[in-house]
Symmetry: none
Subunit: 210 residues, 4 copies
DNA sequence: CATGAATGAGGGTTCATTCAT
DNA sequence: CATGAATGAACCCTCATTCAT
């Protein structure tokens, strides 16, 4: 009926966007091809003329999510490594809290994918990229001198990711009222405090933040 | 074949145990009522005479998992709070790594439950109990003097839980080869180091462990 | 609605019978599970509670067809081998011609099964049993003396099967008006004549080829 | 990519050839229009601009197959009718066995076409032509004197076709290891022996039946 | 309480065919 | 004529859940 003829690239974008929104709202299992089609405004087979299977579509969506998240991470304007780490951490917190942004919720829903379809594994693999991103920043900071030379870039990177996961899981399980911004920031202080060159470094509540 | 007439309580236990094993192996969606029945050795409607719906059964299983995990936590023989925290942390790491133990894997599969069925929320709620357990130990430690008086019991508790989650997610996404015992232990060092009363307290790699 | 509760064995019989009739009428591809269910008077999933897949159901049907055909073959009352062969041959002809009997038509539709599903192969394998049946009869005849000692039981058996196939294919392709009973009987004469002990009538191996 | 503008006749040829190969490999149902288009290197609607429907295309392919097979039959150089029959028979055997030749395999896959679409009927009709071809050769042999005057050309023709079918079906059902060249040749001997003028070798019509 | 047999709702996927360009 | 994008109609199969016994 409607049958708006769209260029493939555009349609693919629409489809992935719809999938993203649905995954965020209904989880991976709740995201049926029928629902995607309906949301896009086409019939089900139209979806299949752009993606070979639901699995491929989900993988594409997962990749899109990661690309966007990494883009957010990489756009930090700060030159100082420590400041960049802090800002990226804060951005993630903001993303999770945002009502409009389905990026992070969707991302974590992928853990819910049926095991054995490779979605979780892709999720893991792409998280390793995030770890590397962080580690690079830390290493850069060590070169700059803004991070202590004894720091272990990978370990710090993992702690940052660990903090992300904590925020995500807390959000997903509906207890973000308890693990709130306040606590999240304090964890950030702990991590960054452990690699800041300064003097008194027990990165407790009072310290660290202005 | 002709199934013996077991006391209800025992049957319920069997059913929940079977569910637990299946969730660990196949995920929540992969755990069908038929499979549960088969594993227990009864027919499907028999399951329904014990649990009103799959959802209820899953909730019961989730509770069982938590009870067992808390039992493990509470059975630590150490009197010293700091030592208890460390041991509990180590036990969790061991649990995640264990091939035989389906407790932790199952636990985290519950995140994969379809949103809106209340399973995730229960998961969150029960995690809050874990937080409280940890916070109690920390408070006890502060009373004992084995933990510094400036410590914030809740925050420390959350960091411990955060570490659990990190281990779980890493395991689930198949990257536990990268976030390994070594890193996990260092994170434990960082957390405990931040509340240990000692002198030099930059809880880095060298420190903290024998 | 209807939901007549039937014992499994009976239902399975119904299902296979329905499948048999449908295969005969619509071919293997045209025999959908939905049509089978409708014909039996149950819903589609009911079919699946009796047979694990369409393929299994088709195999069961194929086997049923063969069992029945072999039963027909084996029920010949004649003691004389030659007479038995002739009667079996005539029975097959009658079966093919019969409007009511869907046995042979169904049988041959199985050749139309999608290649690679193993149905054709099963068809072949079970035809080998027919060959063996025939060969046994021929060998018996040789012992009796009603068939010449130079006969090759296997070769004769194959010729009988070849004749069946000819009837079947002619029927399937709608040219049984041309390859009719008359011709079919003459082919039977040729085959049996070549092994009858009578006077000089033997176009065997030695002859004919250089 | 950008497909050259080929003359219609040539395109049609390409399409039919592709269909032939696909039918031989995947069966009639497995031969999708999309696959044909892909193999030819054009888009799906391009196919439809040459053939009104899949059915028409299949009919054209079926005709092509028959034309080629008859061409093979008619190209026998022998003048002697008996020798021609033998050679044609041998050629068919070779064709069936050949890995490269998709002619005969494709031909027989058409039996698998959904009944009621007229494909099988065409298959039958065209087989009648083969019968006539054979009958003509036999009649010619009778005029030549190389075939006995009592022979029934049509009956002999049918026996030859029957032998083809046997080879085809055996091949299709994967039991060509049992019905092999040896047996096939012996059947040819039986057929030709029954019409060869030589000495005493005639299991003909008159005999055998009461 | 337990069983055997059934159902309703829906899931992913495929395919011949047709528009609009 | 050829193309890119879309559709309608099926198809096989699965699952939580419920009767009748």
């Amino acid at each position: 009926m409607a049958q708006e003829h769209l260029p493939a690239e555009e349609r693919r974008q629409q489809i992935v966007d719809a999938t993203l929104a649905l995954v965020a709202g209904y989880g991976v299992e709740g995201t049926t091809v029928a629902r995607i089609a309906e949301r896009v405004g086409v019939t089900v087979p139209a979806i299949y003329s752009h993606y070979a299977s639901k699995r491929e579509l989900l993988l594409a969506t997962l990749d899109l999510v990661f690309d966007r998240i990494r883009a957010v991470h990489q756009s930090s304007p700060h030159a100082d490594a420590l400041a960049r780490l802090r800002e990226i951490g804060e951005r993630h917190t903001a993303m999770v809290a945002s009502k409009n942004d389905s990026l992070v919720p969707a991302l974590f829903e992928f853990i819910a994918a049926p095991p054995g379809e490779g979605l979780r594994e892709r999720l893991g693999a792409r998280h390793l990229e995030l770890v590397r991103d962080y580690a690079d920043i830390v290493a850069e900071g060590m070169r700059q001198g803004s991070i202590i030379p004894e720091a272990d870039p990978e370990q710090v990177a993992w702690l940052m990711v660990s903090r992300h996961w904590t925020e995500d899981v807390a959000h997903l399980t509906g207890i973000s009222g308890h693990w709130d911004r306040e606590r999240s920031m304090r964890m950030l202080d702990l991590i960054l405090g452990s690699i800041a060159p300064d003097t008194a470094r027990r990165p407790t509540t009072e310290a660290g933040r202005p």
